[in-house]
Subunit: 285 residues, 2 copies
């Protein structure tokens, strides 16, 4: 099984690293070498990156790990490196990009791998966990990677797993980015209340999509947030503080549009999504 | 009529300048000299500032022109420089601070004077216009300043004038500060929609307070915003971009609390006020 990973960011480089005993190629804009470091142990290794544009061979499995707003830039090359039986796995934040992969046998993954990229260095913080819909192919993939440290969780209801992470991101990514504060913000009662209101609206949209959770869902998510230290932040916080474009369209934008589709009144999401989307527009001027 | 102005900021220095043919003293933290410049003509003059703490004489009229969140710092000295018949005029943004002046004969002004302060220099942009409740004192004050370029508009219904400016500030101050963009943001249809929703909720609160406007009120405010050039910004925008504390409590906070008092559901104001208030908290850490 020949595996390619497109996007030498934190997630892509971590997948390439954890699978490096298999036939794996990490692809990027140009030939280079990434330095990959485990935060806990300080252990480092070099991960070679090949220029996607120079690849002429095909792969059986392609993980797409570029930022959601960069997907259009790699679609032309994707044709070249796949064959009729290739499987494509979207290993990205959020949802809503599968329609861009029409004609491919494509899967939306839910990725739990956290780390940070700075130039040609990736520091892995925690988790090597990916959720995928259970079927014959993913069972086979699971067997192939069983010798590695990557955990593949096969889900009967992948939509439920996708929405869980969407809503999880909706609360904390939104508030850390807009208030420019870390997880400490939950100590502000008004921010906690706003967080709950965002989660409740997110849940309302998920319900309209036919996804249900336990009654304690919102409280459970808040409890999970509280596990993080005060200094913890989100990818959208770091993108904001560094004036980079955020992945708002694949997370808040996706949720908001599903809400619109069901004609839901979701003013907390509407307000925060509008502000985040406009900040992106300003950054792209 | 001996007049004092506390706060050598853009508004305080402009009032001291425009009234400089009268018996006027500009008071600040320390003795210094402000440079005051008219943007249109480039004309400059020097305006002396006396340290408030060193003043032992009393004044008949005291304008308070410090930032709304700084008012507590000048209250002890206010006692020293006033007598039993002194009038105190709050020449500040927003509303809600009159209760701090219990025991004084105090007026909430609505100030239309725009300019910018940088260190010891104030550049006046436009307008020398102040609205006050009409009564015997304000009639007398109007007569005294009639020889100057300061326009005093005496209002039968000062609450209506206060709420007009509050709502005017609610739309544009909120959105420029949170999106970190200038008046250009109105070209983004989603931001325009959010702006209208904020204004509608502001109007709802004003209505609950017994203040009514024309049916076209929201459209009129939007039309007024559109007069500004794309590059125009608000005081809250500049405070945000310079990481300074904003006057959110006297504007959005005041409106939100009045809404709470009437048990109104105002999620657009709630969301944006919560974010702005939390940003202030982060800046004051």
């Amino acid at each position: 099984m020949k595996i390619a990973i497109i996007g030498p960011g934190a997630v892509g480089t971590a997948i390439a690293s954890v699978l490096d005993t298999l036939d794996v190629t990490l692809l990027g804009r140009q030939d280079k070498v990434m330095t990959f470091e485990e935060r806990d142990t300080g252990e480092r290794k070099s991960i070679p990156v090949k220029a996607l544009s120079s690849v002429t061979t095909t792969f059986d499995v392609v993980f797409i790990a570029v930022k959601t707003h960069q997907i259009d830039t790699i679609l032309p090359q994707l044709k070249t490196i796949t064959h009729a039986q290739s499987k494509v796995i979207l290993a990205q934040n959020g949802s809503g990009l599968l329609p861009k992969l029409e004609g491919y046998d494509a899967y939306q993954a839910v990725v739990y791998i956290s780390g940070e990229k700075q130039e040609d260095k990736v520091r892995h913080d925690k988790d090597y966990r990916i959720q995928l819909k259970q079927d014959a192919f993913t069972e086979q993939l699971k067997a192939v990677i069983s010798t590695t440290a990557l955990t593949l969780e096969l889900e009967d209801n992948i939509e439920k797993a996708i929405w869980f992470k969407l809503i999880f991101n909706l609360g904390m990514n939104t508030l850390t980015a807009l208030s420019r504060d870390t997880a400490r913000l939950l100590k502000d009662d008004s921010m906690l209340e706003l967080c709950k209101n965002l989660l409740k609206e997110g849940l309302q949209v998920a319900n309209a999509e036919g996804i249900t959770y336990e009654d304690s869902f919102v409280d459970d998510v808040i409890a999970a947030y509280r596990i993080f230290s005060d200094e913890s932040a989100t990818s959208m916080y770091y993108d904001t503080m560094n004036e980079r474009v955020t992945e708002v369209e694949a997370i808040q934008g996706y949720i908001y549009r599903q809400g619109q589709k069901h004609q839901l009144h979701i003013p907390y999401i509407e307000t925060t999504y509008t502000l985040l989307a406009h900040q992106n527009e300003v950054r792209q001027r």
